[in-house]
Subunit: 362 residues, 2 copies
């Protein structure tokens, strides 16, 4: 194993779209979504174990989740958990992690990934990441992973790549444009064209390349972390971060760096990826009974019921009659019943619950 491979896992999200399954105290990445006994975070860490020594895995999260992470990944040292005192989107999160790696070494290949995505073909994942690491170790490039689209998904951003002179050359291609989540019609055009990939939010780069780009495009962020040279990586890091991290602007790495830099490349990949952003995406990925019902964790009897996704707390029984295409989710004192097609309203419901019940059920 090459010891200068590092992995940065971003685990600060709160996942309110999966409420009440996800809660403030236990967001999506900490949940066992498929009843396998492993949380999404645990699955993510396991996925990187063949690629990166465990001591080179850094998890950036909200300070509130530090203990929960140490509980779920007991072979991490506490220092491998980088605690953000507040939410500042992905650019400050990545800048912090990269600054920490710089305090350890001048020569690192870095993979950045979310903690709450699903990947079904782990062997292909390892193959692709290995190829990507090999590339970024030799190139001053910012490499993003683009997923070969399997449907005109409107929930993802898309990356358009430059058609290579010789398509057989390799599958690492220059990026033409990043696009936001398209409407259905546009998504269909994107997929038909064969020139677009889903933006997975996974990145590979070497330390020098990302440091150069961060300084060039996000000087207001790096101004904070540069003051931490000689402090980050020491016992004084926590108090430094508590003071300086909140001063960073709130900005994403996509908007702040990837959409601006001229050395951005995309590697087309196909290893069964989902960002598990919604109940609908979880439904799509889950095993179904002949009536298209999904039951996660719970025992369920269905009568004249089709296309539902049901999850209760472990050991509970649901008996469901006459429901079509609903989400039924119960967790820690909250039951949600909502049409799948209206799941985008869950965020508003979570707000209403916050207002009406003073945070008791959030």
């Amino acid at each position: 194993m090459i010891n200068n491979n590092y992995c940065v896992i971003m685990a600060g999200g709160i996942g309110s779209r999966f409420w009440p399954f996800s809660r403030n105290e236990r967001p999506k990445q900490f949940l066992d979504f498929f009843g396998t006994g492993r949380s999404l975070l645990q699955m993510t860490v396991d996925r990187f174990r063949p690629l990166v020594p465990i001591e080179n895995i850094l998890i950036v999260t909200n300070i509130a989740y530090r203990d929960l992470i140490l509980e779920q990944i007991p072979d991490l040292q506490p220092s491998q958990i980088l605690a953000e005192p507040c939410r500042r989107n992905t650019a400050p999160c990545i800048a912090y992690a990269v600054s920490r790696i710089q305090s350890i070494t001048d020569n690192a290949n870095i993979i950045v990934a979310a903690s709450d995505h699903l990947i079904t073909n782990e062997q292909e994942f390892v193959r692709v990441i290995t190829e990507g690491i090999n590339y970024v170790s030799q190139h001053d490039a910012l490499l993003t992973l683009g997923m070969k689209p399997t449907r005109p998904e409107t929930g993802y951003g898309y990356i358009q790549f430059e058609t290579p002179a010789n398509p057989a050359d390799n599958n690492i291609l220059a990026v033409k444009t990043f696009t936001e989540k398209p409407n259905r019609e546009l998504a269909e055009v994107f997929v038909r064209s064969g020139e677009f990939l889903w933006n997975s939010g996974m990145f590979l780069w070497n330390l020098q390349a990302i440091m150069k780009a961060l300084h060039q495009y996000l000087p207001l962020v790096m101004e904070q972390f540069d003051q931490g040279a000689g402090i980050i990586g020491t016992p004084d890091e926590d108090s430094f971060i508590q003071q300086h991290f909140p001063l960073c602007p709130n900005i994403s790495i996509d908007y702040g760096v990837m959409e601006k830099a001229d050395n951005v490349m995309v590697m087309a990949a196909d290893f069964g990826w989902s960002d598990l952003g919604t109940w609908g995406s979880l439904y799509d990925l889950s095993d179904k009974d002949p009536q298209g019902n999904v039951s996660i964790h719970s025992k369920t009897l269905f009568y004249e019921a089709e296309g539902n996704i049901v999850t209760l707390e472990s050991g509970k029984l649901a008996v469901i009659e006459g429901l079509q295409d609903y989400i039924v989710a119960e967790n820690e004192g909250v039951l949600l019943i909502c049409r799948k097609q209206n799941e985008q309203q869950i965020r508003q419901m979570v707000n209403d619950v916050q207002v009406n019940f003073d945070g008791k059920y959030n």
Copy 2:
């Protein structure tokens, strides 16, 4: 208070139609249906307190519920709970209670009532029962209470009365026929005719009248209890009942006595009665929000939801989107979602759950 008034409360039912709110261990009569802090049984006992001395109230139940009843009605003596070793319908239940009363006195007026009905006008109830007691204390008659129908209910049996020569005479009338639950069309005819009352299952009679009728129409039942003369009312009663009660035929008092005897009278009453036989009847009786939703015990936020009845365990929150006319009931590890119109299927579901999960959720 006249001390030879006795009340027999039948509390042996298992109420599977309200599953999972009612469970084998805590059937319907023991539940606080309206969030008042009093169970249906407690409300029933309270209703009789102005009419009958507490020591003259007998509760017939399955042996499994003896302790629960003593817990809910702490001013009862254990001997006031008559424990059936098995279910034999209402005739053996009443024969047992009447035999017990006979071991105490030769001269009693007896009211028989269910433990799990709702009565909304308790003052009128006391007035009617007082009138009925007065009547049966002077007549060799079997008096049943008939409720003035307010709608063409198909869930109740009906009693047709003989039109009195002079309608102003009184409201205690001879019975012409008992009818089973009618279909909708017939129920409408019954209500329009003005000659039919709902069969409430409440009875009044004096000890001699019911004893005579039981011996005449149910000799196979009374053969058992007559052997208990000198034993019932003593410490040996329990073992006697355990031996003899199971030998009684399974038969209702309606079919076994009331439909056969020629001295049956009905008293028309109107005190806001429901047998709370179904979720639908509970829904009809409960306070509703402007969208016609009923929430019992639980906090609920509704979105595009109408006509639902929701009950969760105390303190829980339900968020319900896009449901019309459903039952949503959660209790002790079981969640039921079922269209109100299909609530008669709940009994089958309870059976399926029994078979599939070995009684764990029953």
